[in-house]
Subunit: 286 residues, 2 copies
């Protein structure tokens, strides 16, 4: 297989969030020749929205996604309304930083204010997700901000996202129409026996490709924590070159966004070492 | 929904494996009025195969499954042959203890002798699984021992089982024919948007139902360990009464086998308390 184009590397800012504030991360990307970035809302809020937009623009970085909207399910109308309002603000912010899409982590089972799950009705949660995305599209579509559903690994179905397969995300795109696409994260979907089929379905969708973003990292064996034990590309079991070849075969020409949550390893290292390693491994192992 | 029949409770012996040897577990089941059991091979080996079969028979317990065969993928012919030989012995043992099925945990990516994963080719691993089950069926079918594929949660795709959905298991049953069925474990499949459809497909399969076993426990939020943090029924987020209703609606009349791996909670408790709690929760929360 062909090597990946080094200029397509993008950094999801969660990868070094324990070491650096957002301005440091932007500077780090520029310093390491990383040409894309995907920032998180809390980091943007801390650094200032307009200041961040200017700094990213000045550094010449492409914003491959804005993290994140979603979390649609709630037990009552007030909760769903609060999510809706917050998601509209996320669209506005994504426009301000000129993001290519707003990434949606759709939420799991409905929770109370303290974060305790209040219902076991996952089918109902999935209906709330569909309705919530549909309503947000009415706001995002005319504004020109694409929404990207990120299917999360099934181990997050209860508490983070009840859309857990590319097939489900594609079904939602079929139902809800233009302005909606998919963020494909290798960590979440690598195991799926329908992975190739559903990447092709997304890439060849009528009208426009749904492949709005491609996130990479690796699945470690053993994985010691459900949330924060993701691996650097090449350290795990995902056949990333094969997966990229499937994305490219159906027309994906976007960037490759490294997103690594790693409490015990990469978050403890010198962030310049982390960025240098991302570059090396992007070239050698993806 | 109707309450579950208390006489349908079965105990997977892993649930108290840290506290009791197998003879203690058999006695415990009898003492607590639990009428089914599903023992593991290592426990049976420690207690003696014929002694165990006699003790279970004497206690009047139904053996709802024998744990376990599988682990088919290997890097070379010798490794696959070793797995095949071991699986045939597992069939023989399952016959000796009069199990209703041999449960298959099919294995993930091929490993070396030290347990290190040697390949990222999950499609290839799935072919080895298909071929391995096909060969084992030639042995198990004439012997009259049903094989039950247990799809494991996708978080085990790399290291334990690369069959991760009921759909995949049903596809294998379609391809490989009679003598093969499915062990449905709520923990592994509760998140699947096609859960109801694939239970119905298994239950209504032409010839005979594929629903050979039904395992229950619960998915905790948060889950602190990928392997050994399963919950007691009622302590998590799985809608177990709904899932049982789907099993029953397509004809499942078998037992409900409690299988809880819980390093920090249930494995540390008095095993008599664990069994009493299983009985209570089976009645109240499944």
């Amino acid at each position: 297989m062909n090597e990946p184009d080094g200029s397509l590397l993008s950094l999801n800012t969660a990868t070094v969030r324990q070491q650096w504030q957002l301005p440091d991360i932007i500077d780090g990307c520029a310093r390491h020749g990383i040409r894309g970035i995907s920032p998180w809302r809390d980091q943007v809020a801390a650094a200032g929205l307009r200041e961040t937009a200017a700094r990213i623009r000045h550094a010449g970085l492409t914003v491959t996604g804005y993290c994140r909207g979603g979390m649609f399910p709630a037990m009552d109308r007030a909760g769903r309304r609060a999510a809706s309002d917050d998601n509209k603000r996320a669209v506005d912010e994504a426009l301000t930083v000129a993001a290519q899409c707003l990434v949606l982590v759709v939420g799991g089972l409905p929770k109370d204010a303290a974060g305790r799950i209040q219902s076991k009705d996952i089918a109902g949660a999935r209906e709330m997700v569909r309705d919530g995305i549909g309503e947000l599209l009415d706001y995002a579509r005319p504004a020109g901000m694409p929404l990207a559903i990120e299917p999360l690994h099934p181990m997050y179905a209860a508490d983070r996202a009840c859309v857990n397969t590319l097939e489900h995300a594609n079904d939602l795109c079929d139902e809800l129409g233009p302005g909606l696409g998919i963020a494909v994260d290798a960590y979440h979907v690598w195991w799926d026996p329908h992975l190739k089929r559903e990447i092709e379905r997304a890439g060849n969708a009528k009208g426009a490709s749904r492949l709005l973003a491609y996130h990479i990292c690796d699945w470690l064996v053993p994985t010691t924590d459900l949330l924060n034990d993701r691996g650097m590309m090449g350290d795990g079991v995902i056949d990333l070159p094969l997966m990229r070849s499937w994305m490219e075969a159906c027309g994906y020409r976007g960037m490759h966004e490294v997103e690594i949550f790693s409490a015990t390893n990469w978050w403890k290292r010198d962030p310049d070492e982390v960025l240098a390693t991302c570059k090396l491994r992007h070239a050698s192992s993806t």
